[in-house]
């Protein structure tokens, strides 16, 4: 086996030094009754050539955003990934290290995380960001738990326009903690209904959670929601699953958010069938000691040189055990590095330009849809790069028809929103050329549906 260096001679010599005769004897403490008395029932090993052949065979059986024209979004986005990212994260000093427990030989990882924390703060308009969470959904769940800790209240309001998979994850995390989850209705414009929010907010409410933009691609009125939320002493959590929007939109911090949770997949991470992605998490300075996850801080070494260390660890599970602010240990470190490289390359101008392209292309597609006889735009609220299309022909048939034309035309809303069973969610990014959008519209016009 090429990953294991031991020769038969090494094994014999090492056994001798250990003072046993056989490998079997190393396992004396494993009772006979629980020993596996047969070989594992797994396929025989393959060589590198065969492995590549097998995996290429599996890869060929999948539709990708390159082999199809894709308009799928809904929490995972097809964006441009600069070549630099993969080249740099393939430096194995980065990807074969673990958590920077020994700062003197982990300054590369630590400085990069410090830069990541800074970038997330700048982007979200918040004071402090952690070193990463698993994804946007679990980060949102952690945000809810943090608001519950801070307010000592048990009621949580989730907008119905929040990504349904984020809502489901929040529900799982809260399942046995005695919390009450209440849904806030969606208004006709696709924004969270402010009258319903006002009615449901009370002095027992710990948190209100909104998507920004929300699952329908609509840009919520975060400032108004923050004002209402704060009147009741509750915390406003904004969940950002499409952070490219923050290249253009006012930051949640500027609008009064108390906690910003989100997913960084759009910033240079491959779609990878849903993961690994990156949860980001940002809070206000006053709440830093209640936040979950690792933090990197600046300090100096014995010679006065600048350096970075993991800090404020007394919040974390390895010190506080059951009283920790979260159970998270391994996070999405390498994904945070990818996002840091992406944002370094795009920078101030690039992120804005990318956001503008998404906005303009989606607006163009939206107009084209609006002009079709059998289709209309479901919500009038302002949107970024996603919008909901209402369809006269059954949605399932429309999407299958498009599929046959080589187009992944959108996400059906039927399972998550029975009231929108005649609707689908369309996403347009800088990756969709005008010809692709025109092809989508032409296919629908021509009755691919």
């Amino acid at each position: 086996m090429r990953y294991i260096p031991h020769t038969a001679g090494d094994v014999a010599q090492m056994l001798g030094r250990v003072g046993v005769d056989t490998l079997e004897q190393l396992f004396v403490e494993v009772p006979e009754a629980v020993r596996l008395k047969r070989p594992l029932d797994l396929p025989e090993p393959v060589s590198e050539i065969e492995l590549l052949r097998e995996f290429k065979g599996l890869a060929e059986k999948n539709a990708t955003v390159e082999t199809y024209k894709s308009f799928l979004g809904g929490g995972a986005y097809h964006h441009f990934i600069p070549a630099v990212i993969d080249q740099l994260i393939s430096r194995s000093e980065f990807y074969t290290a673990y958590t920077p427990y020994q700062p003197e030989i982990s300054q590369g990882t630590l400085q990069a995380i410090f830069e990541f924390q800074t970038l997330i703060c700048q982007l979200t308009g918040m004071d402090v960001a952690n070193a990463s969470m698993y994804d946007g959904a679990s980060a949102s769940a952690e945000a809810v738990l943090m608001a519950v800790r801070l307010t000592r209240r048990k009621r949580v309001l989730l907008s119905r326009a929040l990504n349904p998979r984020y809502r489901a994850t929040v529900a799982t995390y809260c399942k046995y903690l005695g919390l009450e989850l209440v849904e806030v209705a969606v208004g006709d414009d696709g924004r969270t209904d402010s009258a319903d929010l006002a009615e449901k907010l009370d002095d027992k409410t710990a948190a209100v959670v909104l998507g920004y933009p929300n699952y329908f691609g609509v840009i919520e009125d975060v400032a108004a929601a923050a004002e209402l939320t704060h009147q009741h002493g509750a915390r406003l959590v904004t969940a950002v699953s499409e952070p490219v929007a923050l290249g253009l939109l006012k930051s949640p911090g500027e609008l009064g958010a108390d906690i910003v949770a989100g997913d960084g997949q759009s910033f240079g991470l491959p779609l990878s069938f849903g993961g690994p992605y990156l949860g980001f998490f940002a809070v206000l300075q006053k709440d830093v000691r209640s936040m979950p996850g690792r933090l990197v801080g600046e300090t100096t070494d014995l010679d006065g040189q600048r350096g970075f260390v993991l800090t404020l660890a007394t919040r974390e599970q390895h010190i506080r055990r059951e009283k920790a602010t979260s159970n998270i240990c391994s996070n999405q470190g390498l994904c945070a590095l990818m996002v840091t490289i992406f944002l370094s390359l795009l920078g101030k101008q690039g992120l804005r330009e990318m956001a503008e392209q998404n906005l303009s292309k989606a607006a163009y597609a939206r107009q084209q849809f609006a002009s079709l006889k059998n289709f209309s735009i479901a919500f009038a609220g302002p949107s970024f790069n996603e919008f909901v299309v209402r369809s006269k022909p059954p949605v399932a048939e429309v999407l299958v028809g498009l599929e046959q034309a080589g187009i992944l035309g959108g996400l059906s809303l039927a399972d998550d929103y029975p009231e929108l069973a005649d609707c689908f969610l369309v996403c347009v990014t800088e990756q969709n050329q005008r010809e692709e959008i025109d092809a989508l519209v032409a296919a629908l016009q021509g009755g691919a549906a």
Binding site: E29, P39, L42, K61, S106, A131, C329
Partner: protein
């Protein structure tokens, strides 16, 4: 002895933000091919203050220099106990990047993702076979999320039977994530002592009608097999509880014994430990969970199912605890782990375990007598020493820092908590006898230095990019981001 630690030319590098120059660009985008749209002004932000402006070359040099300040498995020996820092095969990185696997949107219909779903299904099945559990979910993102998943499943099983138990027993040797995960499932944690291995008497003394589960790690964090595990599981079951197993140390058991056959009810896997996927500087990992048939209905969804002809994602059923993440888990990590299992095969996995255990015992044999070994049972994949015999007023931290000067990543230190000044060494199977000998020589030399010249330890490290850092100052006045001066 050759000391492999040395200082080459190490380049300094500022923070990204300190390089920035207005107007510099590191990206290119196509010309906009549709009419430009403006968003209502009240929705738009000003430019992002402080955001970097760098050229592509700036960015590449920046991160290349940063990388050289790191130490990874590819740099050298990384015996970080309980983290299983084995070699990360390169072909796994190649297959995970195949466009047909990396560029799939998670909402792509099942009939267009049969290759990926098939891979995930076979990984589920392989993990079930390796562990002896009936069913596996791949969804959890990391070990800690796997633990939480497992504890929620246990809670759901109890609730379905009308049982309102509120407590979970956790040995003092457990990783801190165990109690934190139990708390997230709404349980009160009862710490129990364990002197080396857990005894039936200790569990019996705490087991009552209010205890929902016992969480164990097997082999435990001392590297010892829990020899009473069968009797303990039987007792807990008889008294209406379940047993959770932290699978962080599964590298000690592949092909030797299966946790599912020992009476354990739930276990999480760490694909980034046992199954060779890279640790990424802290993640991403992947923490699948295996359960017995009785617990299978409560697993999170969706999971991959097969009807003999094709694969599909089965949506969440009513008894399921629900969803742990937005999509299907860290799929890119699953691809690497499955590639590892295919490359190793049944005999290869068992061989890996045997060599991992041989390596740990070899290190133990070479260092016993030089360093204090508090627990004498036969070690499995890792060995834990204490700093009791270290002279010259030196402690575990000093030893760790001195190891850096010799060119090694230090072992896990001060864990498990039951050993004072713990030095937890897990060599893994991918290290040769020569590497282990050089490391042991260094450990022995350092023990001598502590006796004869302790300043060498107190001042260490001196060959690293930075010297010891002031962690107290970092925590007292936290500076957690860069800010523009003035």
């Amino acid at each position: 002895m050759t000391i492999i630690g040395t200082s080459g030319l190490v380049l300094n590098e500022k923070l990204l933000f300190e390089h920035s120059a207005p107007g510099r660009k590191g990206y290119s985008l196509p010309k906009l091919d549709v009419p430009k749209t403006e968003l209502a002004a009240e929705l738009c932000r000003e430019e992002i203050s402080g955001f970097p402006e760098l050229s592509e070359v700036d960015v590449v040099r920046h991160f290349t220099r940063l990388s050289t300040w790191n130490y990874g498995v590819d740099s050298g020996f990384y015996p970080l106990g309980s983290c299983t820092m084995k070699y990360n095969p390169k072909v796994n990185e190649v297959v995970a990047r195949l466009p047909g696997l990396a560029d799939i949107h998670p909402a792509t219909p099942a009939h267009l993702t049969q290759g990926m779903l098939g891979l995930m299904y076979r990984l589920q099945e392989s993990l079930a076979e390796i562990s002896g559990f009936a069913k596996v979910t791949l969804q959890p993102a990391a070990g800690a999320q796997g633990e939480m998943t497992g504890m929620l499943v246990i809670r759901a099983w109890h609730e379905a039977r009308g049982s309102k138990r509120t407590k979970v027993l956790i040995p003092a040797t457990a990783h801190g994530t165990n109690p934190a995960s139990a708390a997230l499932a709404g349980y009160d944690v009862v710490p129990i002592s364990s002197d080396g291995v857990l005894t039936l008497e200790e569990v019996e003394a705490h087991m009552n009608d209010d205890v929902a589960a016992l969480m164990v790690t097997n082999p435990n964090t001392l590297g010892l097999f829990e020899t009473n595990i069968e009797a303990i599981c039987k007792l807990v079951h008889e008294r209406g509880g379940l047993v959770y197993c932290d699978g962080a140390n599964l590298n000690a058991l592949m092909g030797i014994a299966r946790p599912g056959d020992m009476g354990l009810d739930v276990m999480h896997f760490n694909l980034h430990k046992t199954f060779s996927t890279p640790h990424g500087g802290g993640g991403p990992g992947s923490g699948p969970v295996g359960v017995t048939a009785a617990l299978a209905p409560y697993l999170p969804g969706p999971g991959v199912e097969c009807d003999g002809k094709s694969y599909r994602l089965e949506s969440v059923n009513e008894s399921s605890i629900g969803r742990m993440m937005a999509f299907h888990g860290n799929v890119g990590i699953m691809v690497r782990a499955y590639a590892y299992i295919r490359s190793m095969g049944p005999t290869g996995l068992k061989h890996a375990t045997e060599m991992a255990v041989l390596n740990a015992n070899y290190v133990r044999a070479r260092l016993e007598g030089v360093y204090d070994l508090p627990y004498k049972n036969r070690s499995l994949h890792e060995v834990v020493f204490s700093d009791k015999d270290l002279e010259g007023g030196c402690h575990t931290l000093d030893l760790a820092k001195r190891l850096i000067d010799y060119g090694y990543h230090p072992p896990t230190i001060y864990f498990p908590l039951v050993v004072k000044g713990a030095i937890m060494i897990e060599p893994t199977e991918t290290e040769s006898q020569e590497v282990l000998d050089e490391f042991c020589d260094a450990m022995i030399a350092i023990a001598g230095e502590a006796r004869d010249n302790p300043e060498l330890l107190h001042d260490a490290p001196i060959r690293s990019k930075v010297r010891r850092l002031d962690e107290t100052a970092a925590a007292r006045k936290p500076k957690l981001k860069w800010e523009e001066v003035g």
